[in-house]
């Protein structure tokens, strides 16, 4: 696979690792957060922690849209599917997310709800066209990467006059969440960020500049392949060593400073900012999510079906909030690996294999026993 395999080369990885080991100062710790679940996945799947010196530590951030979706949002989707008899379309990622009353979309489906896994918003439109007598709702989740395809679908539905199609809009924004992590009193013990890969192909590198300027944290945007991650870590180590805080771009093959303007325009045409949105683990974060603009209200399932969002508190024993901020490690949570496992996730970080806890449980838990 061209432009994939080259970025997974083991020998080159060892080279970059040797450079990191050579340049990281033995006397100091480098606490770097990879924001995105895609990076968490690459680090876990390829065992990249083993290529880093012990004083360079990766902290898994909240960049997994499934993990940050609060219980109340999944509840809304389940209510729609069970009580309003809609065809609920969703990306496969969300079907196992635990909701209230020991339910999930998968369990709701087992109980007779019409829940369908789709691979593209085009599939949801097709289902709506093929079932004109049924209401079809798409559970629209994801960061800036996944938002433009939803915008395209909304525009298409409007153009076609597709009246039985609507979305539950749970699209969230990356920079807002990064602010939420950094804007804690006393600051956070993070030395820099590996910045989003595919989110940045859409929004560009510019939105990260305030983190470098205002919080003095270096950001290096990196692709999701293992060599991209390794190179970004090296670039962050260099910035830390030099006392610099700049936005640098390792993923130049897909990311520009301005991003994909066409996609941004589409998103701006269809969506507007929500005043606030509740994130699992982070709580309510201002201006951190999108809703449909009033002229597209006909496609807003929340309004169309009057399913209000009802907040459900996270489990008290769960340390997700501290883990997402990099203040605690997954294994420091009392219920990690006992009450809370990938089969029966309690907290948000255990939900998807890209969550900090699930990634550590599934790929890295041998490290504690060594």
């Amino acid at each position: 696979m061209k432009y994939v395999d080259e970025f997974r080369d083991g020998d080159l990885a060892k080279n970059i690792a040797a450079n990191i080991a050579g340049e990281a100062h033995a006397g100091r710790a480098y606490r770097l957060m990879e924001f995105c679940g895609g990076h968490t996945h690459a680090i876990s799947r390829y065992g990249l922690a083993d290529l880093l010196p012990p004083n360079v530590r990766m902290i898994h951030g909240p960049g997994c849209p499934v993990c940050v979706l609060p219980i109340g949002r999944i509840d809304q989707a389940i209510r729609l599917a069970r009580e309003q008899d809609v065809i609920l379309c969703t990306y496969a990622d969300t079907v196992r997310v635990p909701a209230s009353a020991n339910l999930s979309l998968m369990r709701a489906k087992a109980g007779g709800a019409d829940v369908r896994m789709i691979y593209s918003t085009q599939d949801a439109l097709k289902i709506a066209r093929d079932n004109p007598q049924r209401e079809v709702v798409f559970l629209a989740i994801g960061f800036e990467t996944t938002t433009p395809p939803t915008a395209v679908a909304i525009r298409q539905a409007a153009a076609e006059g597709l009246k039985n199609f609507s979305i539950l809009c749970d699209h969230v924004l990356t920079p807002a969440a990064m602010h939420a992590i950094l804007a804690v009193e006393g600051g956070v013990a993070l030395d820099g960020f590996v910045g989003p890969a595919h989110v940045s192909t859409v929004i560009g590198s510019k939105p990260y500049e305030p983190f470098a300027d205002d919080y003095h944290k270096p950001v290096v945007i990196a692709g999701f392949e293992p060599l991209d991650v390794m190179q970004a870590i090296l670039m962050l180590v260099r910035q830390v060593n030099d006392g610099r805080a700049a936005v640098e771009n390792e993923f130049t093959r897909a990311v520009t400073r301005e991003g994909n303007l066409k996609a941004q325009e589409l998103v701006a045409e269809v969506f507007e900012l929500r005043d606030a949105f509740e994130w699992r683990g982070l709580g309510s974060v201002p201006h951190s999510a999108l809703k449909l603009r009033p002229q597209f209200a006909a496609f807003d399932a929340e309004q169309k079906f009057k399913v209000d969002y009802v907040a459900v508190p996270d489990n008290k024993a769960c340390e997700c909030a501290a883990i997402l901020r990099g203040q605690k490690r997954p294994q420091e949570c009392k219920i990690f690996g006992t009450v809370c496992t990938p089969e029966n996730p309690v907290g948000s970080c255990m939900v998807s294999s890209e969550g900090a806890c699930a990634a550590h449980y599934s790929y890295g838990r041998f490290r504690e026993t060594a």
């Binding site: 799947r45 065992g47 990622d93 599939d123 293992p226 790929y363 838990r365 026993t369």
Partner: protein, 349 residues
Amino acid sequence: MNTVKPNYTRALDLKHGRVDMSHGSGGRAMAQLIAELFAAAFDNEYLAQGNDGALLPQAQGRLVMATDSHVVSPLFFAGGDIGCLSVHGTINDVAVMGAKPLYLSASFILEEGFPLADLNRIVESMAQAARAAGVPIVTGDTKVVEQGKGDGVFITTTGVGVVPDGIHLSGDQARPGDKILLSGSIGDHGMAILSQREGLTFSAPIVSDTAALHGLIAAMLDSGVRLRVLRDPTRGGLATTLNEIARQSGVGMMLHESAIKVNQPVEAACELLGLDPLYVANEGKLVAICAPADADRLLAAMRAHPFGRDAAVIGEVLADAHGFVQMTTRLGGRRVVDWLAGEQLPRIC
């Protein structure tokens, strides 16, 4: 002149006919379906006895029995169909016990309305697979369920075989230091199925690996190597099979990612869908565990057989109280290769 033929029944319409409830009712229609479709295709002396069960000759050795139900969508896929799959799957379950498979039974649950032409194709494919394997289908059963209560056709096959003296294979016999061998590429069957599933619009040159492995296994046993564990990594993929063995034997494992073959289209399809080929189903592969001194000889025996051409040593058994299956990645790091949590679902957004 009397033109009435007292015992005439019009032949089954294998072109346009469909399964209806009468085909499962025990009456004449069912007898006809069995005679014209199943018995005609499977044709062997035991089935020809025409009784409720097959009377089989005395067998030498310990008996092995295995059963497997087959539900697959789509029923026809690149490289095979539910028919040959149901023959191969059960032959393999018997053969990985170290047994020579002798006989199969086949039980069909048909959905009302299922085209007889498709059923005929499936049954022909089963018959051909059984003949090629030298394992006759000696008894069977047919039931029909109402439309909407089945998925076209479900097939359950049961196999019987005999294990020669001196052979004892079991999942609890892996010992620290042992070598783990894999007979070929992984993920081909699962991705062949997925690539043809409705809604997953992609096309790929991926062919199911469905195959009967008793020939390969016989060659491995004939090599004189003492095998400890044999297993076919079907549902749940290689990762699940190895975790089962590790748990049964109370050991850990260290795999080497670079030694595990994944064909490029399979890898690419997995990339597109966010799936891990380690968890994708195989239907013609096996995992073998043997003492380290035997590994070279076993590998040579496997590679000499067409179904083991790409065989490789993929790792070692370790002493590990936690029973972790680990892997050194192609990047040089380490990871756990865990049990599958729930169903493997695409990661997308």
